[in-house]
Symmetry: D2
Subunit: 432 residues, 4 copies
């Protein structure tokens, strides 16, 4: 059995189409963002280009789904790209032409799927790639997603269940997919009392990837993944969401500090609790609700820095949400902060030295053995945050130099690390 | 607006096909039991013959459903009887021929439906009887039943929603249906946190019956109906289940005493909390699981009497579960105990004078103003149960005569009513 | 056994000290309000004067309790009045002198108690009126109230448990108490998983009253009493709270419509679901928190009428919360609306003919057989509310005259009863 | 601030009096077991001798508490040992003489406390070591333990709160205590809806230890500690219970596999999730309930090995429950299995390579870099368990020798590690 950790020794970094294009991304947008990544970001470690949900749905418009919409499907009940939106996929080529182009840029290609088998396959009772079995036979009849009508879950143990999952990953392998984000699977407690759990579907998917002959990062959504399942997630997936969908709201960002505190011990090569995508820059371009439509992130600059600093110190996977081609200078500066990104890639996962509802202090060692410390004011008032060198495990007697990883300014430290911070602001220092 | 209480001034009494034939009852069985009722039971107040679930499903066999099975449906997405099972329904006649025969016997005819619209209609996106609207438009995409795959719920407020319900009750009115048992509706708390409630569907159905031009008893299943909804149920339905499916097990029978204690104040003409069907005699004839298959009720004679006594003193609707043509003498004797049945029909609903986990005493007045009292030993040991005449609201000084409603024996009472009862046994006395 | 329903054939009406004096009421205030009741209200049915919580606590000030404060207690671990606050109680006279004065006014006297035995008795291990048993022996060690430190619950079945409750009700009988409000007992689900229930304490108190030789109304607080316990409450108490403490806030008043809809079937002579006290006029005179201190009710006039109308149509017990001696004219007019109060006393409990989150219609018959209907606009917008005479069970053809029970204006009705109502307003009509 | 992790670089190992003596252990038993440890176990790493609950209670007998019993207490409301049970503690010497003797044996001494302040201090309102403050002022009036009546919780933020905790740890420091097991603190969700949390009490205790001038291991009980609090526990304590009290029952042992899977990532020097005491050998000697009284562990030999293997591979703290002086040979052999104990002390915490409800495989590296693997059959049937060398991260091509850590037998491995195991049995191999 191949080692599933090999493909994600570091937290995966890339771009995902959801935050800017919802369910409606198309080939031009995918490739345009890939080119931007190649030109501006690849050198900093960014590499995945991920096509999010509903690429089989020809009529998808924005962020709301068309219930019961007709999806493109092959003769084995496998969803395939809509040629209206992905012209190169026509004639059975699937995502292979797009993957080829992205690979040619030196980047990697990912797709989103929903767990299960299309409801349309079940109600039409179409064939699957397993003799004598049809879609109806493997569908878990009461396992539906609470926010999307495309699929039924698959019942573990039924003849054809593993075979169906095998068949879809064979298809993805034939397309040269590098990364699969599986949705409606990390938190499936939809039914009270006798909740259906997707644990067995996670295991079937793990096995299907192991069987398919190609390494693929396995990312599970949406959260909150139950922390009691952490061991199971570590054994089967490469990354999983700690929360529900993350958007540009302070309460969600503050809550992420709590989730990082719950999960930090579980980070390991190949195993990455996921803070979710970065809603930076220009987002929700296809949104139809005027309240949210095509906006610049609602996060202040301080909040954006706080987000980048927490994600990087925590070593979360990093997935850009912006339409990158519309990045302003500040957004780009955050995505090319080499010090922070290198910490994310090569540092030892920082730990919360102090944490309460007013402040958080995370500290760890970078690849060179220097201590990096982040001071976060998560209160609503300006606040001085101080921590002693001793509490960071440093010798109190020595003289240390500190570099601010955002401003690059240097300073000499006394016995304490201290910063006066505006509400929602942070300061990240490398101590040498 | 017609008064929905008119059609059920007393607790409905009849026979229902579920306990003996599951999802697979057919025309011969319906009519055969109707004839039995006409010949042996009608004179005691029994009148409804109810065809339970899945009469549109040609391949139904026993008590398990064939997931995603093809159902018979008309051009307006309305389910119609399977002619394989109900030959007289062919050529668009529906249940009218059967209803006619049952009416000719001086009895009434009822059917079972699931709330909602067939999933097959939604996925095929067929027409409904409302211009410009199709099945997909009115389906509540996440509202499914947790034990049967036939339907999606209907979303209140959508164009066509009320019209669909109107259209099915017009159909039933054209068949001369007298009683409709709507399923998956009295307890729909399937989703945690943000539970979908079927309250609006109950209201649409109420309105559809009021609109259809024919009185029909509205029965809601399955329970437990939340007691906090009691007011809403009283305003909209005629009967509703207090528990999940009731079968022939002592723990379920004992639990019914608790439910009756929770609900007794809610009985009123036209409003009947329902103890569920009576699993007496020969039941589960079509069951395929050998553990349950074609058996005589597991209830002892004492337990059967306890069930009949509680149901009648409580004034629950009474629906026989047996294949009546196979009744033995004892079963028939229970179904023709005129004293008890008359109490059910004409008495004042009894109330629990005493109730704890060992004993229950229910008392009320019959149509002649005589006190009727039931003493129930619900413990696991023989027990003497005593209650004073004063606690029954009777004058301690007077001499009363008591008649046992099972044995018909008479006795003269002292100051107390008392009985030594075996575990699970009861004694019901009329005091004159 | 005496019939516990005898003492409350109608919903009890009176005054309670909590809303105006909190834990700190004194003898002068009790008697002063009693005199007011005698002079202005007795003729309308008002009769109980109830001394609320902590009359044993000499240092009580306002609405917050002094944790672990020393309480006055007799040699049998029974709490007795603090002579600092109730001077006539000195020398072992207890509440007898006050009760005598109130009885002399033609009124009745009530007191508040907490279930259980004083914690101070348990920790000092003092005697109780049961040979060989001390306070420690009967205390349920983990049963504490979540908002007051005075007591431990009493463990049913322990030697001395019933005897202790008997002993306190003997004391109250010797004081000629007519009404006991027992607190921390109607909703005691403090502990998760294995919740302690006070059901057995309710039964012990019932028995203690039955044993004490004097009729007393038994009132249980605080709510929400679980509706599943309704049968038990009916068998043991005379009134019980449907909600937590009710204060002068619209959301609480609106919520009461939901609770009345949950409970209305349970009203019966001797059994009264309780909407809680009426926070009218001048209240919270002893409150120390400036936010709430000594204010006129925050309810608008429309809201006050809505409250009075709902309480009376529902037939709730009525307990005035105001310092009545400071009543203004409007407040007094509400408390002397003979039509409404007579409905409360002599009418048939009205039922909700219609109820949703925008409007409520309650209707019933008064003692003369006239229909009384209340139309309530519980939305935030002006609203026309209409109901047909037929839906009120009246003949559509007849000509009816309606009297507004607030304005006393008369009108002639057509086929419908209709009113245009401001938000939170109501209209109550008697139809002749 | 001292580094709280210093005192527990490895999982603490020792003996605790609860499993054999309940609430009633005495000086002779403590010292007798200490001598046994010195003579037979010290050489294997065992070092702590811990006196469990209620050492202030003179009348304690077995495992049930005497509710509201009088406890020994000093002038500052601090509990002190009962001289009836610990004679050397008389005259204000406290546990110092016992600690001295245990230290003289080369061992360490621990005590148990309940969080909070004695209820008797609060009800007597005695002094604490903080001017102007008394016991009543700092008690959290509604924070009680659900299974013991001794204490009230302490309210963070009140004047005297931190001072009280400081004062008790000063006392323990003066006694030379090395280890404190604080009870009723790791899981305090007693109240629904608005649960009281002991998090602030944990922080006060942490600070009190840091202030007291002596290193002490901080152990928190009982579990289940909520896994969402893991970060907080790591920052404040040295060990904490993952479950409720663990006794010699298979279901509890099987459940521990699930808990270990939930918690394994959180092990770190100074931070040890705790599987609880080892109920081996002769236990419950003072139990008065004949069902449990003075018995040999109910665990089979296979189960005892499974328990030892899981605890050691997981690197749980190890606390012996037996009256060690009555150990039989088998029990002693488990407590002196140097290979397993060395893994517990010096290995890298193993991780679950596979885990489902039938089998568990844990693997890690010992101090010499050898892979150690445990195969556990947690099903009810004999079972062959197999794992490939590759899945253990070993080269498939090499030839490895395996040593069974229970039998010491050696074997040569092929491509797989495999064992046929009886139900509940395990096999632990060191692979070289």
């Amino acid at each position: 059995m191949p080692d599933k950790n090999n493909c994600a020794p570091r937290p995966p970094m890339g771009w995902n189409s959801w935050d800017c294009y919802g369910a409606a991304v198309n080939e031009e947008q995918l490739l345009g963002n890939a080119e931007y990544m190649r030109d501006y970001l690849k050198d900093y470690g960014w590499e995945y280009v991920v096509c999010d949900i509903q690429w089989s749905e020809p009529t998808a418009v924005g962020y709301a789904y068309n219930n019961f919409a007709q999806l493109y499907m092959d003769e084995y009940s496998r969803l395939i790209p809509s040629p209206e939106r992905f012209p190169s996929s026509a004639d059975g080529k699937g995502f292979k032409p797009i993957a080829d182009k992205i690979h040619a840029m030196g980047l990697k290609f990912g797709i989103h799927i929903m767990r299960g088998i299309p409801r349309q396959a079940v109600h039409r009772n179409t064939a699957i790639k397993c003799e004598g079995v049809t879609a109806r036979d493997i569908a878990q009849q009461y396992s539906i997603c609470p926010w999307n009508t495309d699929m039924y879950g698959i019942e573990y143990g039924r003849k054809g269940a593993q075979e169906y999952y095998d068949s879809i990953f064979q298809l993805y392998a034939s397309w040269d997919v590098d990364y699969v984000k599986v949705d409606d699977i990390a938190n499936t407690e939809h039914f009270p009392n006798n909740p259906y759990s997707a644990a067995k579907e996670i295991e079937m998917i793990r096995k299907a990837i192991d069987n398919c002959g190609r390494e693929m990062v396995l990312s599970l959504s949406p959260g909150p993944a139950p922390v009691a399942n952490a061991g199971h997630l570590c054994r089967n997936a490469n990354m999983w969401r700690m929360t529900g969908d993350f958007w540009d709201r302070w309460d969600a960002l503050k809550k992420m500090f709590y989730k990082c505190d719950e999960w930090y011990a579980w980070r390991a090569p190949g195993c990455w609790p996921d803070c979710d995508m970065l809603p930076l820059g220009r987002i929700q371009l296809t949104e139809t609700d005027p309240k949210y439509k095509d906006r610049v992130t609602r996060f202040t600059k301080d909040e954006q820095k706080t987000m980048m600093a927490l994600w990087c110190l925590f070593r979360s996977p990093l997935m850009i949400g912006a339409e990158m081609r519309l990045n302003d200078e500040f957004t780009l500066s955050l995505l090319t902060n080499r010090d922070l990104l290198d910490y994310n890639r090569f540092g030892e996962g920082a730990v919360p030295v102090r944490f309460n509802d007013k402040e958080a202090i995370w500290a760890g060692k970078d690849a060179d053995g220097n201590t990096v410390v982040g001071l976060f004011n998560i209160s609503e008032e300006e606040k001085e945050i101080t921590v002693s060198l001793a509490d960071l495990g440093l010798l109190a007697k020595k003289v240390y130099e500190a570099t601010d990883l955002f401003t690059k300014e240097k300073s000499v430290l006394g016995a304490d690390v201290t910063a006066v911070l505006a509400p929602h602001a942070c300061c990240v220092l490398r101590i040498q």
